[in-house]
Amino acid sequence: MPVLEKEGTQVWRRRTASETLIRWFGWLIGVAVFMLCWQRISEATTWFFVWDAPRIASDIWNRATPPRWEYITQLGRPIWDTLNIATLGTLIALCLAVPVAFLAARNTTPSALFVRPFALLIIVATRSINSLIWALLLIAIIGPGVFAGVIAIAIRSIGFCAKLLYEAIEEIDHGQVEAITATGASRWQVMAYGIVPQILPAFAGIAVFRWDINIRESTVLGLVGAGGVGLQLSASLNVLAWPQVSLILIVILVAVVISEWVSAKVRGAII
């Protein structure tokens, strides 16, 4: 009982004495497990490399600065490819994610028993595999290049967009759907009038959010040969051209900052 009698007044505690004890015991076990894990990690670490790390890092820093600015002339085309991979991939993903989301949402699915599990499977399957791995697979299937990158980004994004969208669909105000149904509207009209206006802001938010993520993801796709600025990055790394690497990192940083700014603006304009 959290309420105790003390000298005639009622004292309220958040937890009873035994609950408090159990909590303390839980914390004790947590700390002990943490210390044990720490010890194991320490035993498995070659500490020489760790102590050496600052020296190596400063060595690489010295080699990488200053960046080779004149290399930027060769980066325009790859960064443009990267942007295109992200944008096209996001557009394709959105086109495919919308029907999947409507099939997966409990309140719009034609059959909760047969269709919904299938839609959820698509969402889980596409979401659980990283776009880098999709790219590796696709390069084997359709050959290296920008197209493989676009498809890899698209497939990876379907699950993400469909999941967020179907959650938005499930959260709509049912009253508006009821009202449109009561006018004698058809199934598709109920969708266009009762559901779509309600999820439009969520849809726009998801679209720019995913586009923003995809710009970052597409910069690394080149590492496995799927086009874009990552191709230059891996080439420079392979020949230990550190000043070029640092310039590429700066360019990626600028591209990501710009994309974040754009998506923040778009989201602000919609909501």
Binding site: E178, A179, A182, S186, W188, A192, Y193, P197, Q198
Partner: protein, 265 residues
């Protein structure tokens, strides 16, 4: 015009929301449905246009048994029944005009409605209705910019543009202040009189029902326990519908208000 015969609804949980309702609403009659929360008022009007599927009995509108209709015929039948909601249920992100025109969805095809190319006669009627409820200047505003009373007026326009024979009204005033409540009730009953519309109005506020509506039906535990004119609603009857409470004040207040309004007019 509307007959309910042994209309029954039992929810999957086993709750008997309606237990064999028999009710006849003649053409052009406005009827108030009162009763405590959970008595089955909302379920009853939703069983008529089948937003809730009744489990037994029949609802017959002009000779058509609504409970037996297939999906296409049900949509055509729903056009005959306008519905007004407690929380207005406007599509918040569409404009007032779009909301009013959405009452015509049962009459226009998908692409016409999707591209907002409604027939000019519908648009004319929408403007006429908005003018009638005093919202003509708001036609281009988004629905979420409106106040509660204004939204309910748009809801009324949406129901009326269907050219219905029957209005199903679910707690039209429960989210409104007392003054707006009266205005909305007056508007609904006036419009029904103008157009010779029958209406079933669910309402919590007994005084408001007595003030505006000529026939009152009391529902308790899914059964009709009162059916008569407002002045037959004595405190014994109210006790039967709602349970033990001091009802004298409610009844007296109504009489007082009636004379107030008459004096004001």
């Amino acid at each position: 015009m509307l007959q309910l015969e042994k209309l029954t609804k039992t929810y999957k949980t086993g709750d008997k929301a309606l237990q064999g309702i028999d009710l006849e609403v003649p053409s052009g009659q406005v009827l108030a449905l009162i009763g405590p929360s959970g008595a089955g008022k909302s379920t009853m009007i939703r069983c008529i246009n089948r937003l809730v599927e009744p489990t037994g009995g029949a609802a017959i509108l002009d000779g058509v048994n609504l409970t037996r209709l297939g999906s296409g015929a049900l949509r055509r039948a729903r056009r005959e029944m306008g519905m007004i909601f407690q929380e207005y249920a406007l599509v918040e992100r569409l404009t007032v005009m779009e909301n009013v025109l959405s009452g015509r969805l049962g009459y226009v095809g998908f692409w016409r409605s999707f591209l907002r190319r409604y027939p000019q006669s519908d648009v004319d009627e929408a403007f006429r209705l908005l003018d009638r409820v005093g919202l003509l200047h708001m036609a281009d505003k988004r629905a979420d910019e409106l106040s509660g009373g204004q939204r309910q007026r748009v809801g009324i326009c949406r129901a009326l543009i269907q050219q219905p024979k029957l209005l199903l009204v679910d707690e039209p005033t429960a989210s409104l202040d007392p003054k707006t409540s009266r205005q909305i009730m007056r508007l609904i009953t006036e419009l029904c009189r103008e157009r010779g519309l029958a209406a079933i109005i669910n309402i919590h506020d007994v005084a408001l029902a007595q003030m505006f509506v000529p026939r009152i039906v009391g529902l308790r535990f899914g059964e009709i326990v009162f059916d008569g004119p407002p002045d037959a609603l004595t405190s014994e009857k109210l006790t039967e519908i709602y349970g033990e409470e001091d009802w004298e004040a409610t009844i007296e207040k109504v009489e007082g208000e009636d004379t107030d309004i008459e004096a004001a007019e």
